[in-house]
């Protein structure tokens, strides 16, 4: 079908594509690259991730990657942004203000823990971004407004609890969120070194459940009267 000497002029003829497989689907290709990049960056960090590996995982090639995302750094930022959008979107659906203050905080703690547990790639991306001192996140314009909602809603719940006399006056919304996130993040993201040095498999279901209860307990114990 493809005749190399079609007009006799030797242009650098390459190997003809023999098996024409998939139909064209820009949206699918783009999404596949993003997902493959998420896995590759999460597993290997920014320095360890390979552009070739991403293209291969996505079932496409580097040309498309550069076409859709510019370069490795822009692709990485895109991955990071999507990861943040993912957790903040799920968080909004919680509506922690609909319950009693105590239940609301417990609910947020449970949600955060379980989200971390189900999205190890998010934790990993955070680790990588912090290794680089938020070099790429700081350039993001999309993410300024994304996080204020969380603190606002949490602040309301705490105020309500204080008025009802169940929470101490000193309870601070950022501190409460950092407490919840700390306990989940460290346990999961450092599970490999921790399991190694303490000789206990932290990912075992019983330990996981015990730690989930512990997070809720610690969070509430630190702000309750």
């Amino acid at each position: 079908m493809n005749d190399n000497g079609q007009n006799g002029e030797k242009k650098k003829s390459r190997r003809p594509s023999q098996e024409r497989t998939a139909q064209r689907d820009p949206e699918r290709t783009r999404a596949a690259i993003l997902e493959a990049a998420t896995r590759e960056f999460a597993e290997n960090g920014m320095g360890g991730a390979r552009v070739d590996a991403i293209a291969e995982r996505a079932g496409t090639n580097k040309r498309m990657l550069y076409h859709y995302f510019g370069d490795k750094e822009q692709l990485y930022l895109r991955v990071l942004e999507e990861a943040y959008v993912g957790i903040r979107t799920a968080e909004r659906a919680l509506h922690i203000g609909d319950r009693s203050p105590e239940e609301g905080i417990g609910e947020l703690a449970l949600f955060t823990w379980r989200y971390f547990l189900q999205h190890p790639e998010f934790l990993s991306l955070l680790g990588t971004e912090n290794l680089h001192r938020a070099r790429w996140l700081r350039q993001s314009v999309r993410l300024k407004e994304l996080h204020s909602h969380l603190i606002g809603e949490l602040s309301d719940v705490l105020e309500r609890g204080k008025k009802q006399g169940v929470f101490v006056e000193s309870a601070d919304p950022l501190h409460v969120y950092l407490t919840i996130a700390s306990l989940g993040y460290f346990y999961l993201s450092n599970q490999y070194t921790l399991s190694t040095i303490f000789g206990r498999d932290l990912i075992e279901p019983n330990h996981l459940n015990a730690w989930e209860r512990h997070i809720v307990h610690v969070t509430l114990a630190s702000i309750k009267h």
Copy 2:
């Protein structure tokens, strides 16, 4: 050029007992490589660290690096091991059992927080090692015995507190340590993304002090009656 003349020193002392001109200094070179590697790995991770950069930072060259440490991976493991030895050694000097149970736990929490604060490279190395699922740490033979002392001593303090009725029966030594470490680790290692998304400079001294107090408060609140 520099002829000392005297060769009357016929003691078979292989080492020149004093006053080495320091042109050549194996011990110093070795230490310089280890320190340079610690910084390079902490700043760039395993995948991002460059062997050339380590040699240059150490004021030497790659030949010496490979001569003393074998290859990049062995050097990295060495750096990681030294980091663990550093914190566990400092920890032992605390003797948390010498005080009342409550003071002992508070002391451990304060120490851990301040050690993390003063050794950001340790946190960074932990992050890198966990990204790779403890691939190198698991191969280490030196580190099996290093950590049991911590849990043992902590366990004693908790038992004493339970007998005195100040701590709840459910208090678990590993959970207590993980709580302390979580709160310190997450705040510091994720300070860059956190400061960016929440618009607050977490490394500012007032915030740092507030978090230090918070860690002690949370830790004790979670185990006290």
